[in-house]
Point group: C2
Chain length 336, copies 2
């Protein structure tokens, strides 16, 4: 028996020969076009494919068509729970259109993001999903490359690119109002200093609506550590707020750790609401009341935006939905 390892894979020509047709016809039936094929011929081809175990070579197809059945995703760090969930949703959504997702983390030191974008494009991706903040230069690069692109995540809207997000302002306003309805008058906010982020504004507006004085405002990175640091500062404040709005679940969880460490009880000593609706928020104690982002819908919209692009600059904001749990002081499932 000759060397059988990595058998030269069967090619379109083999299928054509076996079925007694031209390779063109094989293409037509496999791609359902662009030409019609007689039902009987079609059956013969399909049969040959089955018998031979034929699989098209995606690279050849990509070269020929000038486009691979792949989408690119640029994300800062797929370990961040929110982005991990977003990646997953995007993988699903793009798989539903028969495309694979090439995920690239931009938090790498050896390579610039521009390099990564160029690399993605050289792989003939059909579109680029950006779940990351881009510098003006980088965005200009993306626009000049001429491939469909869409921004997704908490990065606001921008001229020149389509974008998908949620209504952060309304979401935070609602959760802040919820806290106020619990009777807390002194409501702090912990979020990022990013100017594209509307969560701070939502919090502010809710306080104004309720004619409350502005609460304590802390800017930290979007991470457990950021939340932990904020929690520490809140705990040590001369007048500790009675409630706090966290801009993300991660921040809230970091705060929980800082509070736990100091014996500060949530929600009894300080109530918390947060944003995102990641799974982890449901498995800390107390469970987090959080504004849930509809990731599946957002992901589907992002993929759609690549396949049938809208005008650049167009922004689609989905509503967040407040999920009530224990951290705000409610007793869901308790005595309702």
């Amino acid at each position: 028996m000759p060397d059988e390892r990595r058998p030269r894979s069967v090619t379109r020509a083999d299928v054509a020969r076996y079925a007694g047709v031209s390779t063109a016809v094989v293409s037509y039936v496999l791609n359902d076009g662009p030409k019609a094929v007689a039902p009987l011929t079609r059956e013969r081809v399909l049969d040959a494919v089955r018998v031979l175990g034929y699989r098209p070579n995606a690279a050849a197809r990509a070269l020929s068509k000038g486009a691979a059945d792949m989408l690119g995703l640029l994300v800062n760090d797929n370990r961040n729970p929110f982005f991990a969930e977003l990646c997953h949703a995007l993988d699903q959504a793009s798989a539903e259109t028969g495309r694979s997702l090439l995920i690239v983390n931009s938090d790498r030191t050896q390579v610039t993001t521009s390099e990564q974008i160029r690399d993605l494009v050289s792989r003939q991706i059909g579109g680029l999903i950006i779940a990351d903040v881009l510098t003006a230069r980088e965005q200009a690069l993306v626009e000049s490359l001429g491939i469909p692109a869409v921004l997704i995540g908490p990065f606001g809207e921008t001229d020149g690119l389509q974008s998908i997000g949620v209504d952060f302002c309304a979401g935070t306003r609602e959760s802040t109002t919820h806290l106020i309805e619990h009777g807390y008058r002194d409501v702090a906010f912990v979020g990022s200093a990013a100017r594209y982020d509307d969560r701070e504004r939502g919090w502010r507006e809710a306080l104004v609506d309720a004619r409350l004085a502005p609460g304590m405002l802390l800017h930290v990175p979007f991470s457990y550590q950021g939340g932990y640091d904020a929690g520490t500062r809140l705990a040590d404040a001369e007048r500790r707020p009675r409630a706090v709005v966290a801009a993300s679940d991660q921040i809230a969880i970091g705060m929980l750790a800082a509070f736990g460490e100091r014996g500060i009880r949530v929600p009894d000593d300080i109530a918390i609401v947060s944003f995102d609706g990641t799974v982890t928020a449901d498995f800390v104690w107390p469970r987090l009341t959080t504004a849930v982002q509809p990731l599946e819908q957002m992901a589907a919209a992002a993929v759609r935006a690549l396949l049938e692009p809208s005008p650049p600059g167009e922004h689609h904001a989905f509503p967040a939905r407040l999920r009530i749990r224990e951290s705000c002081g409610c007793r869901p499932g308790g005595g309702e």
Copy 2:
């Protein structure tokens, strides 16, 4: 000005023309081989590349070479924090060899894992990393495809495939022993029923070493929910154990929620150690004492195993390192 969108990209032929050489020479300099090129010619080519802003077409290259500069990764669910960190490490490791990572989640209902494997291979990936449990059929498929493959994660070793993991038995044995040294005599174990998982054995051996009676044993899925359920059962047990070994951080965190909900204090009422060393373990309260898996090293080893394959069946186990924090009853950073 004519239509400038998506300018026909500059090709190797353009570069060759501009530099006044053949396309072969362009290839030689860009790939550093297989032929040598005169220094001056080389400069001319490099210059042309710069001036024209040339980028090789990866699809053409893949077709020509029969291999894309891509590695495939099959993972059950990239949202699981441990696997999210593993994905990230693998992305880094493969990027370091100039390859992109095509990540595919197998937790999809519309498509079989075998289909996903075939799809990956049709994209001409240079190797397949499997961070997932495979059925015998699926593994046979991988082997028959003849591409380099490696199993990574808590899935043990297997004939026919190279694999990378950590020494679960020793790791758990060490953490269990640590608990015992705290004076706890009644140590439970919460893990999976998987026969490839050696963590249960490590726990058992530590108890035997200490001449302790076997503790309570619970089998649950590797998830927050699994941990939560286990925590509930532990809490409701007629004789609640004094300490528990969790097979993963996620399980431990789920247990923490169940305990928190019932007012059971950790570590005062029940001490916990877990496994994995994910970031989240450091930001719950109490912080988890956990056996850390050296993900970067494991990822690098996995990529290496693809590029210079070892004999199938070969297994490389890395040691886990116990990270002491508060959940076991220690006071790290406290009064040491």
